[in-house]
Amino acid sequence: MTEPTIYELSSPGRVGVRYPQPDVPLAELPQDLVRQDLPLPELSELNVIRHFMHLSHLNYSIDSGFYPLGSCTMKYNPKINEEMARLPGFAYTHPLQPIETVQGNLALMYELQEYLKEITGFDAVTLQPAAGAQGEFTGVMIIRAYHKSRGDSKRTKILVPDSAHGTNPATSAMSGYEVVHIPSDSRGNVDIEALRAACDETVAGLMLTNPNTLGLFEEQVVEVNRIVHEAGGLVYGDGANLNALLGIARPADLGFDIMHINLHKTFSTPHGGGGPGSGPVAVKAAFKEFLPGPIVEVLEEGDEELPPVFGFYQPTQSIGRVKAFHGHFGMMVRAYTYISIHGAEGLRKVSEYAVLNANYLLARMRGTYKVPYDRICKHEFVVEGVWDDAPEVHALDIAKRLMDYNFHPPTNYFPLIVREALMIEPTETETKQTLDRFADVMLKIAEEAHQQPELLREAPHSTPVGRLDEVKAAKELVLCCWLPEEAKN
């Protein structure tokens, strides 16, 4: 069942939307600048709606089923969030409007900054970064600016545990640092001795994810952070896994200096098929002046009669803008809605149930799947998707076979320190019934792997397309359904 492309559906002369005729005299066009060809499709509105409806049916999504994609926190995205972000009072405001006309927006942004500070324990927040990776970039550039401001130019390295997400080393490199990998120990923690050995006056900082990408709480996190600080470095927290810590522990209390928060993971803003995300960065007071500006502040305190007046503050030693305007405001509205509905008590429950669900699934799978670092996990866990007595089967085959049972596969082949990794994050919004069904299927697949390995090797059998030829895609490199050359003929 192949859906034609919009170019294949196109018919010359067809029109999808009508616009009013010009109500002003026509101006002359600069003929030498006017474009001759415009190779765009021509469709009716119904063509377009059906086409994208058909495409939507080819997607798996949280709304349609269990999506235990580790490290991504695929929790339910409440519908009310979508309504709120589309309120005309928010959706139709221009980012450069005078501040007196957007006090509602600024109040919301200010409150969200305050909530995020309270939840993480930090002292200041910028809402500007567009996603987690941009938050990392912001944070590492703050580390750089901080050392520079002290005239400390020897620090050329960032330490990154070997379990880290790819964005961590990529961010460090982009920020001008050499990356030094720190191994993990047998319990899945940062190897303290290796860390000590790596820490000297050339270290600018450590990028640490806690819980780490194995889904495990860094048991010596306070000590890890102390070691880095003693060497004069700073600790950046990759906040991708904050969903395990709401009301459980505040990263600032644990010794982190700077951290990003993924509104699109922890605070339920939708993942959108690959974004938009939102990656606010929180810092301790010592780093506030390095934040990208502007940030929202109270310009005049309110009183009984008048609300406070909100405006912008430009940090004095800012690393500079990382993005145009004020960040992904639409995502902020959704996250604010989510936090308001939960309150402190509800947020703690989110993390408790995220951790309960992960441990429950782990308990049900343990014994059938090898758990390389086996202890109480946090919001996710990692198993090996391979057995010595079923050598033909790999993690990828298990992932594909899950599709036949109508589940989205877990993250696979990450973290790199686990052989054939399957990284499973159920999130708090799933019922026990769903978890049981998934566990049953995982056990059944393990059985199939041993008895009918070809069933897995050839999976999926029930999806709109089978396994696709990635080598061919990279070799032929067809990135466009109607090349400009063809259009010109």
Binding site: T2, E3, T5, I6, G16, V17, Y19, D32, R35, L40, E42, E45, I49, F52, M53, L55, H57, S61, I62, Y67, E83, G89, F90, T93, L96, T101, V102, Q103, I119, G166, A170, M174, E219, G247, I248, A249, H271, G272, G273, G274, A324, F325, G327, F329, I339, I341, H342, A344, G346, E352, L356, T411, T431, P460, V465, L468, D469, L479, C480, C481
Partner: protein
């Protein structure tokens, strides 16, 4: 609520795990920091939250309440209802990055179509799946050029008429590299043309960046300029407003190597500045150096057409510190919005919107130019934005306009000290002739008072 367990389910689950309580799942968290009391407002019901946000939203004055002539990088356009109808499909907005192609063909094909539309609109060979916004797309162009020359060319020549926020973001991104030079954007000479940059372009120049239409709305043919830039071996990036490309020559046709820009005009609501859409497209020589996701066409074993993420060896999850960028989550749903918008409007509609903007902006400019004290340069070609020289500070004029229900233009003195009393006005298909007349009346009254 969103957490579904009943008490008895919770107890059963704890029993299977083999721990006595939920608290015991957190024994590895240092006791002195465990379970902090968070000082947050009491939880509210959905009904109460909806009322509270409604209240906040109603404090704002919007581009619907006011007549909007504000642009400067974000534009007030009509978004046909069908766009949001598709965006609201849970199948699209509650999925994630299509790492598992067999269950993500909807997202993958939509991105592939997006890439096709953008490549065709910009006249380039390939587009990526998106960057965060126009500013970061511009910065990523510089990073591409830096790597293209393996760091050996260290000069980046940027026109002063590139959006000031983009220039700021560009500088932030290049701060991570040693000894790079960003020059050319002398804000004391805001109206310099592309040609004025040429003396700065030398054998050490990696990239030249100009904007089209530029920040002041002006358009010029860049064909000769592109050739001269290439004579010194440098690459050329043209920052575009994609809507203008429905009417004017594409950067590809004029010889640019990279086209990037802000995709917000393509069906994305203003939403106080985001989320928007970073457009990024290149000629084929640079495809493998492009950052971000790319979708390619292929087939399955049975020969059925399908789409996958391709050339992933450029990306952070494979290449780690050697990746072309750290970008991971991008603007998927916004790219979908642009795809649906461009599909709906198509060849005729997109051109029609661009022409409406053009004609209405020119009418407005001519009318304002006749008001005593106000001056517009009508000789230089422009698209839908233009600079008005005012008799007073823009701040004062805008206050007056706001009192008359008009959201005035952008105060250029914010970024260009030389442009005191200069306002940047944007006119789109949303502005009726009546709106334009109300604006002109208000400006006339202002100049009389």
């Amino acid at each position: 609520m969103y957490t579904p367990h009943t008490d008895s389910e919770r107890e059963e689950m704890l029993k299977v795990i083999g721990v006595p309580s939920i608290e015991s799942l957190f024994a590895d968290v240092p006791a002195e920091y465990r379970f902090p009391r968070l000082n947050l407002p009491e939880p509210l019901s959905e009904m109460e939250v909806a009322a509270q946000l409604q209240e906040l939203a109603s404090i704002n004055e919007t581009t619907r309440d006011l007549i909007c002539f504000l642009g400067a990088g974000a534009y007030n356009h009509y978004v046909p209802a069908a766009v949001d109808a598709i965006l609201r499909r849970g199948e699209f907005y509650t999925a994630y990055t299509p790492y598992q192609p067999e269950v993500s063909q909807g997202t993958l094909q939509a991105i592939f179509e997006y890439q096709s539309l953008i490549a065709n609109l910009t006249g380039m060979d390939a587009s990526n799946a998106s960057h965060y916004d126009g500013a970061t797309a511009t910065a990523e162009a510089a990073v591409l050029a830096y790597h293209h020359f393996r760091g050996k060319r260290t000069r980046f020549v940027v026109s002063p008429s590139v959006n000031p926020q983009y220039r700021a973001v560009l500088r932030t991104y290049l701060n991570g590299y040693e000894n790079l030079e960003v020059i050319g954007d002398d804000v004391e000479k805001p109206f310099e043309t592309a040609e004025d940059l040429l003396p700065l372009v030398d054998a050490n120049t990696a990239l030249v960046i100009v904007q089209y239409p530029d920040f002041f709305g002006r358009i010029q043919d860049l064909t000769d300029f592109a050739q001269k830039v290439h004579e010194s071996g440098a690459l050329l990036t043209v920052v575009v407003n994609p809507l203008a490309l429905a009417l004017f020559k594409s950067p590809g046709e004029m010889g640019a190597d990279i086209a990037c820009g802000e995709g917000q005009p393509l069906g994305i609501p203003l939403s106080y500045g985001g989320p928007y859409l970073g457009i990024f497209a290149t000629k084929k020589d640079y495809v493998r150096k492009m950052a971000g996701r790319l979708v390619g066409e292929t087939t399955d074993k049975e020969g059925r057409r399908g789409y996958v993420l391709t050339l992933t060896a450029r990306e952070q999850h494979i290449r780690r510190e050697k990746a072309t960028s750290n970008i991971c989550t991008n603007q998927g749903l916004m790219a979908l919005a642009a795809t649906v918008y461009m599909s709906l409007l198509g060849k005729t509609g997109l051109r029609q919107v661009a022409e409406l903007c053009y004609h209405k902006a020119h009418y407005t400019a001519q009318q304002i130019n006749q008001i005593p004290g106000f001056e517009v340069d009508l000789k230089t070609p422009f698209f839908h934005e233009f600079v008005v020289k005012c008799p007073d500070s823009v701040e004062e004029i805008n206050e007056y306009l706001l009192d008359n229900g008009i959201l005035g233009g952008y105060d250029l003195s914010n970024d260009y000290p030389a442009l005191k009393n200069h306002m940047l006005l944007a006119v789109t298909e949303m502005n009726t002739r009546e709106d334009i007349e109300i604006l002109c009346e208000a400006l006339k009254e202002y100049s009389h008072d």
